[in-house]
């Protein structure tokens, strides 16, 4: 195709889609591109759409550069990299006219899109020249070189990204830098046409770096004083547990060289939850992490923690359900389950981070809430926030000391409590005092059966009702002590959008799309359940409120409907959608516009 002489220049505002096969090392190549652009100060985000497979199935990586800071995957690819023969035809078909195509010539499949400027390179052949055995992996470095040439990525930034990707492995660093350089040189020598897209250096905050949400939670937990981690491997939460295991030796070694946190890979999620409860009962800070299927299995134990009032922390890194679902895709489908997990009437504290900074913060705060309220506390993240890379300016040190809750540790403390009983509401806040095994202080047999204020078995109707009413009051009392919502309010108070969790990464763009139609839109990000009274006030102030979420049924919408005063309910409108892919702004903005139109 003829290129126009006068080409519109588009700088730092485009999306690259890279199609590869799983297990070919392409994640390294993709992260090198992401990190080198990040080093240049370009606001950039990366989404790994990977299969439930170790090797062979298709995977896509989406890199979006956006000076506006948009982090959701773009609505379309501006640059398509084709490496995978299995998806080649369909990937090509889906492209909009004008999309730039970079492809591996050695795949020997046609690139029959005359409306798309295409750039071929014999990547496998060139990689074989460096190392025949590693050609399958190395060929992915050639598209890094190709993109570096076309977009103008700094060699220094590339070198440093390669070095941090292959930390300490000198041979790998050398080979990969060589492959990237060969790719760049080939492109410079053989490709005459230019493309409209480029990147430009921006002032980078020298403190900023990219990190996965799971690693942030892992670090937060360690600074929160975790001392028992039980876990059962499940995507996408395993990297959280492995993050804790990785960091413990550096951060949590005692003076005698022993560890201050026991780590147990459990036989299943049931056992993992039981261990958390055992640890909490014995006075420790126990935690496990899992995904939806694990929560299903843990539910019986979660009811025990709620009813016997044992502290513990469970992180759910949500993947697509129900059942095994799409195990490597993202969703906010577990919210209702977490909030009301287990049989009978239950209600649990759920912390919902929307940024990696909050992942770290709630990582440590979760233990304080668990011990303060003597109950199971959930952290709720998802695959998108947990396993993709997000920017932070650095984690903030905890601003309050560890809260160990109402634990009586000596006879003197016990004597100071009038009319002590394990389940007696002495202070009127629904939270009783407790003693620890080993202390010899007023021991009881903890139980999941009905019990009176002294912990003695009881089937008395009045005793039972008093107990579950106090539990309700206890968790109610947490509402305004949990993280308050983040509100961005417009003066007009016309449309309010309530959202939570990883939707944070798409909300700015959605908001801009809505305001471009002339609407005035305020946003309110809920950061915990039971929801803060400020959420109710936000709804009260706005004419119409959209509840925006990444699931099918509108789970937060359901919770709000159930708990809000009835006069506010008619203001609420659910916009919920899920397909496994991190939320694309256009999809949700259009759904909101449709909903508003219908409800005018």
């Amino acid at each position: 195709m003829e290129m126009h002489v006068k080409m519109e220049r588009i700088c730092n505002d485009f999306t690259i889609n890279i199609a590869t096969a799983n297990g070919t090392g392409s994640q390294s190549s993709n992260l090198i591109i992401l990190n080198s652009m990040f080093q240049m100060g370009v606001p950039v985000s990366g989404k790994n759409l990977f299969p439930s497979n170790i090797s062979g199935l298709p995977t896509w990586f989406i890199i979006r550069a956006s000076d506006k800071g948009y982090q959701s995957p773009g609505d379309k690819a501006h640059i398509q990299v084709l490496m995978n023969k299995d998806t080649w035809v369909k990937d090509l078909e889906n492209l909009e006219p004008g999309t730039i195509v970079i492809y591996n010539e050695d795949v020997k499949l046609p690139v029959d899109r005359d409306d798309c400027p295409s750039f071929g390179m014999p990547m496998t052949k060139m990689a074989r020249g460096i190392n025949p055995k590693l050609a399958r992996l190395m060929c992915n470095m050639y598209y890094v070189g190709a993109l570096a040439h076309l977009l103008g990525i700094d060699q220094d930034a590339l070198d440093s990204a390669v070095e941090s990707q292959f930390k300490g492995k000198e041979k790998a660093i050398e080979l990969n830098i060589r492959a990237i350089s060969e790719g760049r040189d080939y492109a410079a020598e053989n490709w005459e046409d230019e493309i409209p897209y480029s990147i430009e250096i921006r002032d980078k905050n020298p403190d900023s770096f990219l990190v996965e949400g799971n690693e942030a939670i892992a670090l937060g937990s360690i600074f929160g004083g975790i001392n028992m981690l039980s876990w059962y491997p499940i995507t996408p939460s395993s990297s959280l547990a492995e993050g804790i295991i990785k960091w413990l030796p550096d951060l949590r070694e005692a003076d005698d060289g022993g560890s201050t946190c026991a780590v147990i890979q459990a036989e299943d999620e049931l056992a993992a939850a039981g261990m958390v409860i055992g640890a909490g009962w014995a006075g420790g800070r126990g935690m496990t992490c899992t995904s939806g299927p694990g929560i299903s299995l843990m539910s019986e134990f979660i009811g025990l923690a709620y009813f016997a009032e044992v502290p513990g922390v469970i992180w759910d890194i949500n993947r697509v359900g129900p059942s095994t679902g799409l195990p490597t895709r993202t969703q906010q489908g577990d919210l209702t389950m977490l909030y009301e997990a287990s049989h009978g009437d239950t209600q649990h504290i759920v912390l919902i981070p929307g940024t990696v900074d909050e992942c770290f913060e709630y990582g440590w705060r979760a233990f304080d809430y668990a011990e303060r309220f003597q109950t199971m506390v959930f952290g709720f993240s998802d695959l998108d926030l947990g396993m993709n890379y997000w920017s932070t300016s650095g984690f903030q040190y905890p601003d309050s000391p560890m809260d160990r809750g109402k634990v009586l540790r000596s006879q003197k403390e016990m004597d100071a409590v009038e009319n002590y009983g394990r389940y007696r509401d002495v202070d009127g806040d629904g939270i009783p005092y407790r003693t620890l095994p080993g202390s010899g202080l007023d021991p009881i047999l903890y139980r999941g059966t009905g019990h009176d204020e002294d912990g003695i078995y009881s089937e008395d109707p009045d005793v039972y009702y008093a107990t579950i009413s106090r539990l309700k009051r206890k968790i109610e009392g947490a509402r305004d002590l949990l993280p308050e919502p983040v509100i961005r309010e417009e003066e007009e108070q016309q449309i309010g959008v309530i959202y939570y969790g990883s939707m944070e990464n798409s909300i700015t763009e959605i908001d801009d799309m809505l305001e471009a139609t002339g609407l005035s839109v305020s946003t309110c990000r809920v950061r915990a359940l039971p929801y803060h009274s400020e959420v109710e006030a936000f709804i009260e102030r706005h004419q119409k409120v959209i509840v925006l979420e990444i699931n099918r049924d509108g789970q937060m919408y359901g919770i709000l409907r159930k708990e809000l005063p009835s006069h506010l309910v008619p203001k609420l409108h659910s916009v919920a959608y899920t397909d496994g892919i991190p939320p694309r702004a256009r999809v949700y903005a259009d759904m909101i516009l449709d909903t508003l139109e219908v409800t005018v």
């Binding site: 055992g278 420790g284 560890m402």
Partner: protein
């Protein structure tokens, strides 16, 4: 004036008793509770240093009936081992005495039982084994023998799960079988188990007087009395009693040293049984099974295994006693983490 008898830490036995049992009168489980009280008192374990653990079922209710001065946790069905694991990890100084049933251990909780053994959790795991689910009114459990018949209903046709054989195969460090009606043997075995460091499994046949105490039931009182294949006579010598002051038996005997310095003396009756040999332990179990008998005594012992907490290399102080200073890394440590990410 009567003088109250005190144990080695000057406590009366009443310091070790619990609430009134709500089990059926004559239940074997109540006899086991009494033995636990006796064993803990005689061993002079401080009650506050004990944690009582159980699952769900008739047997799992019994921690309410013994050791009232100890904290305890009546958890969920079959999952007592995991709760014990978590508690043990954060407070390894506690002595865990757990009670479970055959439904709890051999069916719903068989996975957790297996993995607690595999980790060599430092606990005493007593199975009160009657071959039936009592609280749900008498259904067979998975430990009932082929050919055994409970009071009502048909004969059981499925082979039993032998929890001792399973424990031995998994390398459990202390495996014994006893009978709720053999007070002397059971007391010695529970006392030794309390002095052991690691997982001690004691499978105690405990007749269900309501649903399976008829003579056609292989776990009835009369049946066990008539078909008990005793491996050896057991005598427990606590660490605070000088062994040289104990009478030496006339026949052959074998002394087994426990972690706490106490001794379990096994006096040979009939064929000698070597509890360090898993093959002969399994042979004894299978021989008895072929003859529809119950073999009782210390089946297998290995005091050399690392416990779960030891293999994790935990710091000396129980983790539950650590404060913010030990549990929260410094601000400086976080600065280093942040700079590491920045690549500076």
């Amino acid at each position: 004036m009567s003088v109250m008898k005190l144990n080695v830490i000057d406590l009366e036995k009443s310091e070790y008793t619990g609430g009134k049992s709500s089990l059926c009168p004559g239940c074997g489980h109540d006899q086991i509770s009494n033995v636990i009280i006796q064993a803990a008192w005689e061993n002079g374990i401080p009650p506050e240093g004990i944690a009582k653990m159980s699952g769900i079922g008739c047997s799992s209710k019994t921690p309410a009936y013994f050791l009232g001065k100890s904290h305890g946790f009546n958890t969920v069905h079959g999952r007592m081992p995991s709760v014990t694991t978590g508690a043990n990890m954060v407070n390894k100084s506690l002595s865990f005495i757990a009670v479970s049933g055959d439904g709890d251990t051999a069916s719903i909780g068989i996975g957790q039982f297996i993995h607690a053994i595999r980790r060599n959790l430092d606990m005493v795991y007593i199975i009160e084994n009657n071959g039936v689910y009592g609280l749900t009114k008498g259904q067979y459990s998975a430990t009932v023998e082929k050919g055994s018949k409970k009071k009502k209903g048909t004969m059981n046709e499925q082979p039993p799960i032998d929890l001792c054989a399973m424990a031995i195969n998994l390398g459990c460090s202390f495996v014994a079988r006893s009978f709720s009606g053999s007070k002397k043997q059971l007391t010695a075995l529970i006392r030794a188990a309390m002095g052991h460091r690691g997982m001690a499994v004691i499978d105690v046949i405990s007749p269900c007087v309501t649903f399976a105490n008829n003579d056609e039931s292989y776990k009835s009182y009369n049946y066990v009395k008539g078909n008990d294949e005793v491996l050896h006579l057991v005598d427990y010598i606590p660490h605070f009693t000088p062994i040289e002051e104990v009478d030496i038996p006339e026949g052959e005997y074998d002394d087994i040293q426990m972690f706490d310095g106490s001794t379990l003396r096994l006096e040979t009756v009939g064929d000698e049984h070597d509890p360090s040999n898993p093959v002969s332990a399994l042979a004894a179990i299978h021989r008895a099974e072929q003859e529809n008998k119950h073999v009782t005594g210390l089946l297998y012992y290995d005091g050399s295994l690392q416990t779960a907490d030891e293999s994790l290399g935990l710091t000396e102080t129980p983790l539950s006693e650590l404060g913010q200073h030990e549990l929260r890394p410094s601000a400086n440590a976080l600065d280093k983490v942040n700079s590491g990410f920045r690549g500076s």
